[in-house]
Amino acid sequence: MKRILLATGALALSLAPLHAQNFDDPEEFAKQKEQLAATPEGPEGQPWLQHIGGEMVETADLGLSAPATVCFSNAGVNNPWRVVGYTNMTEEVKNHESIGNFIHVDAEGSDDKQIADIDDLLAGGECDVMIVSPNTTAALTPAVERACEAMPVIVFDRGVNTQCPVTFIHPVGGYGFGIQGAEFIASKLEQGDNVLMLRILPGVDVLETRYSAGRRILDEAGMNIVGAEFTDGDNAKTKSIVEDYLMRGDIDAVWMDAGATAVAAIEAFEDSGYDIPVFVGEDQQDFLRKWQDEGLTAIAPTYPTYQWRTAIIAAAKVIEGEAVPGPEWVLPQPAITQENLDQYVNPAMPPLHYAMCGCEEMENYPQAWGGN
């Protein structure tokens, strides 16, 4: 038994470096840290219209006229974050008369299907502008390049390895997310205090960068990281893992790379009879409510869903021939803190509604997002 363990361990360790990508890039870390502190340009109070860094791309020469057809190749609507984002998007479409027709194709989380979707949209000949939210970066790059040859392309959320799109819309990024949570923990705890890190799953770039940034800051602050565990984003598993850690010793803070299971992790403390420690969650309503009800010491970094609105706004600007921020449109990435918590808690919204949606002023809020 022990020999099997050792052998498999050695095997896994020897294989690991072959597949290691650089998810811990000090330059990118420093850049995102700077962007978090930067003052964005654009209308105040409407972060989905703001941008960090001032470059603009002219679109008047693209030769489009309103109303035009916007096609959207979507990686999937397979998690609550994307459900909220896609609702933002369909509601935003209604604000733009220049978008005559909006065609949505859902790749259901499959690279192959998304490549075929894009080719079908191109062959169909109906699209004037294409928005792509890529499922994975490398696999979708050639398909996006083909689309670029036929029409203006706007990419958002995950990127592609080509400069051909008009603009690539994204919030500051994963390092920024990791930085905000870990700096909060470091500011609340003493050196040597115990921090448990909970992660969804390995190998996803946006999650790996959150972790590497968080880990870097916690290590530098002299925190004792008792463990970094994968939860698969599963409530029951998360709760079990935290219960097991509590049996072995105290935990002074919990850092999470995504907040969907934060409430389950908090319940593990409650049900085992412990005080709830310093917590890093995300902007899901259930976590924000718990935070407010229990008076937690917490922070909620966000990966704002309002970027789905921005993609439509950019498409409308391209049709109207207005300049858009580019070739990268970096959106602000605010964190929810004790000071502005009240602004975001809304008991009428579903538990996994992402509060940083920039959608509160939209016409069909809250019904369209499942609120009542």
Partner: protein
């Protein structure tokens, strides 16, 4: 030749005729206690039992279908549907629990009845019939919720999966889910091993033609087996929703875990042999593997490799022992 016929008898004398799943479970528990002495405290083992309860109940139901010669792959998505549906129906109203729980149990029985009817009357193999049901139920849960949870489960509903009964002598506290586990497993054990139904389930799994000729109502027994599995899925859903709250993929993977647990307990795929207590032992052993790997603190990929190897080794051992002991 004479050597090989002599060996089983000698082996039977040397080894006590105990189902290997209990030895596996004991070894895993010893390893856990070695890694974490706190496990012998009530908090340790009660948490473990609470966590294992949904899978154990599921395995106890699944073993009926396996012994009758089938598979039930639909229980995982049934769990999801029960959790999502309960959160939609209770709609934050604590008093709604009173009718939502019976409704969900009825849903479980209903899904099982449909599974059984498809297998019996449309002659679709159970693997495909329940696979179709799994996809259908997943789709229904998605349609109902819109892909994201829409509500919370009230505390009255979560009582069964989350609450503890405190101030109990000897063990200090008992989770409600452990009581549910004991009652349900007790009933299912009695039904399988002490009643005519249990003998008939074994008979149709062993040889359906012989069973029919002997006067067993094969279809009725088979549908009953699927209904019990569906009921166990609904119960597991109620406990899981109670334990950890609403999510839209809560049941994912549970169908295969339940089948694995039953096989670890010595149930024979394609029917005719299996035991409810041993399937529960298999479920506890599976949960113990997860807990042990958690305590060892190995990296995730190594954990998966080890988990897979332990599973294969355990089932191989079970088969080997069966040959040796002739049970």
């Amino acid at each position: 030749m004479s050597d090989s016929t002599a060996r089983p008898r000698a082996a039977r004398r040397r080894l006590p005729r105990v189902n290997p799943v209990w030895l596996l479970l004991a070894a895993l528990i010893l390893a856990i206690v070695f890694m974490n002495p706190g496990f012998v405290e009530p908090t340790g083992y009660m948490n473990f039992l609470k966590r294992a309860a949904p899978l154990a109940i599921l395995a106890a139901g699944q073993v009926y279908v396996i012994v009758s010669g089938g598979f039930d792959l639909s229980v995982g998505s049934l769990i999801t549907l029960v959790v999502v549906g309960s959160s939609m129906l209770t709609n934050n109203d604590p008093s709604a629990t009173v009718w939502v729980i019976p409704l969900m149990l009825a849903l479980g029985l209903g899904v099982g009845a449909v599974n059984g009817a498809i297998v019996c009357f449309l002659r679709v193999p159970s693997l495909i019939a329940t696979l179709g049901m799994m996809i259908t139920l997943n789709g229904l849960a998605f349609l109902w919720s819109g892909g994201a949870p829409r509500g919370y489960l009230p505390d009255t509903f979560r009582f069964f999966g989350r609450e503890l009964i405190k101030d109990v002598p000897l063990v200090r506290f008992i989770p409600v889910s452990v009581i549910v586990l004991v009652v349900v497993v007790g009933l299912l054990t009695w039904l399988m091993h002490r009643t005519n139904l249990g003998r008939q389930v074994h008979a149709i799994g062993d040889n359906p033609v012989a069973a029919r000729l002997a006067g067993v109502a094969v279809n009725r027994v088979r549908i009953t087996a699927f209904m019990l599995s569906g009921l166990s899925g609904a119960l597991a859903g109620i406990l899981l929703g109670g334990f950890a709250g609403v999510s839209t993929d809560v049941g994912t993977g549970y169908e295969l875990q339940a089948i694995t647990a039953a096989v670890l307990g010595g149930a024979q795929l394609l029917g005719g042999r299996g035991s409810v207590p041993a399937a529960v032992g298999g479920a506890l052993a599976l949960t113990a593997i997860f807990t042990l790997l958690n305590f060892l603190g190995l990296p995730q990929p190594v954990r998966q490799v080890v988990q897979g190897l332990i599973l294969i080794a355990a089932v191989a051992l079970a088969m080997h022992r069966r040959e040796e002991t002739g049970t």
